[in-house]
């Protein structure tokens, strides 16, 4: 509302000078550029070069103060018949540290899954293993949260967290499920 008031007031005050009309009106009544960049939006992901099925971060951008914590979720995007996963993440050990890792709800929808993780802070590598148990285990498809990380920022700077090529999804027969895209998260600590 304030924007419109400013727009109107500027318009009327602009009557005094010919050119101010245009400047005031058009600067104030601007139309923002459409930006649809939800990392879980399949179309938006494709626009940034991440084809599905994929592993992505949600959110994928953080701007925080140094020393604060962030919660980042690991999502499988538009996957089909997945029964297990090995997710390997790489992070900048000089800027962030792993505080907590929790299982997501993607595999917990039918039965309790196996969820194992290992953090190597010296290497800046996290390995997460999760799967359904048994040969007749069910599978999941679509988009879902596989894990949630709580990271702490140790110092100011810009860093990324990414899926490595070791990450893979498997079906009930332990056959790999094709992954066409691996997302990346950006952390800016100030």
């Amino acid at each position: 509302m304030l924007g419109f008031l400013r727009c109107t007031l500027r318009w009327f005050s602009g009557r005094l000078t010919f050119f101010t009309i245009f400047v005031a009106l058009f600067v104030s009544c601007d139309v923002p550029t459409e930006v649809y960049d939800n990392p879980l939006d399949e179309e938006a992901a494709e626009e940034v070069g991440i084809d599905t099925p994929a592993l992505v971060f949600f959110p994928d951008k953080f701007e925080v103060t140094a020393g604060s914590s962030i919660s980042i979720q690991l999502y499988a995007l538009e996957v089909i018949d997945v029964a297990g996963a090995h997710i390997q993440l790489s992070y900048d050990k000089s800027l962030v540290s792993v505080n907590l890792i929790n299982a997501g709800d993607f595999f917990s929808s039918t039965s309790d899954p196996v969820f194992i993780y290992e953090d190597d802070p010296d290497a800046g590598i996290i390995d997460i293993y999760t799967s359904f148990l048994g040969a007749d285990s069910t599978t999941v498809s679509g988009t879902g949260n596989m894990a949630t990380l709580v990271l702490g920022t140790t110092t100011s700077g810009q860093s990324t967290i990414s899926y490595t090529a070791e990450s893979e999804l498997v079906d009930r027969n332990d056959n790999p499920v094709e992954l066409k895209g691996l997302g990346q998260g950006e952390i800016v600590a100030q």
């Binding site: 727009c7 009557r15 010919f18 009544c29 139309v31 923002p32 930006v35 999502y75 949260n145």
Partner: protein, 333 residues
């Protein structure tokens, strides 16, 4: 009584030629009190006294004292104000033994004062010099005019200080001396408020046209501006929901909704933009119209008012500084 009159006449007849003419070559003159028309007689007498004083200061004529004139008038049975005819003035002049007489009237028409004055020969009755002047302003400003007339009726040029006093004080203002309206003045007014220049130029229809056009467009801009703001608020709200949503179906729904709000916002902004261009265009044309057409000329006004205006009008001529009566007869259309 008869004896008293005889001695008085004898005194005047004997003393004037000796005292006035015998030693002085200047012509003798007596001043009758000016007739007041529209001003009080007291004011007229005061102005006459000032005239006599100024006439004496001018020094070109030899002036008979007012007291002497009054005595003759009383003796003849005239009130001074009653001696307005030429015959009376000549008779008084003859009795006073002066060569010339000065008489006149001070009138008032509206806010304008008129002074008509003449000096005529007692012997022949012919006008030697006539003066008239019109003056617009307070009655006390007449004093300066009277003083100037005293010099002019004497055949002298009024002294510079007196003329400067007239200029600095309350100069005669022509009736038609209202500020002249100009094309530029109309343009400037229309720059600030559309139609204002046309109102100034007495083109009310055009003034209303431009003003209402701009107001209508401003109303349109307000409407589309409101739509723009509403759509923008909705867009921002929906975008926030879209960015925080993790359910793919809801993401798609919010995205479609946001795209709809963005389209509405874009359309409203485009409409407002178009109207703003129209407003600017109308504003520019309004300014040009005010500049080109300018104030109405007298002829334009006469076209409208000729059917109802009087054929007889009082007008003031600033060149001759005289109020004149104008009589107009329409010859045909």
């Amino acid at each position: 009584m008869i004896k008293k009159k005889f001695f008085l006449h004898m005194a005047i007849f004997l003393s004037l030629p000796i005292t006035l003419l015998g030693q002085d070559t200047r012509q003798t003159v007596a001043v009758l009190d000016f007739e007041g028309r529209g001003i009080s007689q007291l004011e007229a007498q005061t102005l006459t006294d000032r005239f006599r004083t100024a006439l004496g200061s001018a020094g070109a004529l030899r002036l008979v004292e007012r007291q002497m004139v009054q005595e003759v008038l009383q003796e003849q049975g005239f009130q001074q104000t009653g001696c307005t005819s030429d015959e009376c003035a000549v008779e008084v002049g003859q009795l006073l033994g002066v060569q010339n007489m000065i008489g006149g009237a001070i009138g008032r028409v509206g806010r304008t004062f008129t002074i008509d004055m003449r000096m005529f020969s007692v012997q022949t009755g012919e006008n030697i010099r006539t003066k008239n002047v019109s003056y617009a302003g307070a009655v006390d400003g007449l004093i300066t005019e009277i003083e100037i007339l005293a010099y002019e009726i004497s055949g002298l040029k009024a002294p510079a200080p007196l003329l400067a006093k007239r200029k600095a004080g309350a100069p005669a203002q022509p009736i038609m001396a209202a500020p002249r309206k100009t094309h530029f003045g109309a343009m400037i007014r229309s720059i600030f408020i559309p139609g204002m220049g046309q109102f100034y130029s007495e083109r009310r229809l055009w003034g209303y046209t431009w003003l209402l056009s701009e107001l209508a467009i401003a109303g349109g801009i307000y409407t589309f501006g409101t739509q723009w703001q509403t759509s923008k608020d909705s867009y921002n709200t929906t975008i926030d929901l879209y960015n925080n949503e993790t359910d793919p179906d809801m993401i798609r729904e919010y995205k479609a909704e946001a795209q709809g709000h963005h389209a509405d916002m874009d359309a409203a902004a485009t409409q407002a933009e178009t109207l703003a261009y129209a407003a600017a265009g109308i504003w520019a044309v309004n300014v040009l119209h005010a500049l080109i057409t300018g104030p109405k000329k007298d002829g334009d006004e006469n076209k409208k008012t000729s059917s109802i205006s009087s054929p007889v009008q009082l007008v003031f001529d600033p060149n001759s500084r005289a109020t004149m009566m104008s009589f107009t007869i329409p010859i045909g259309r």
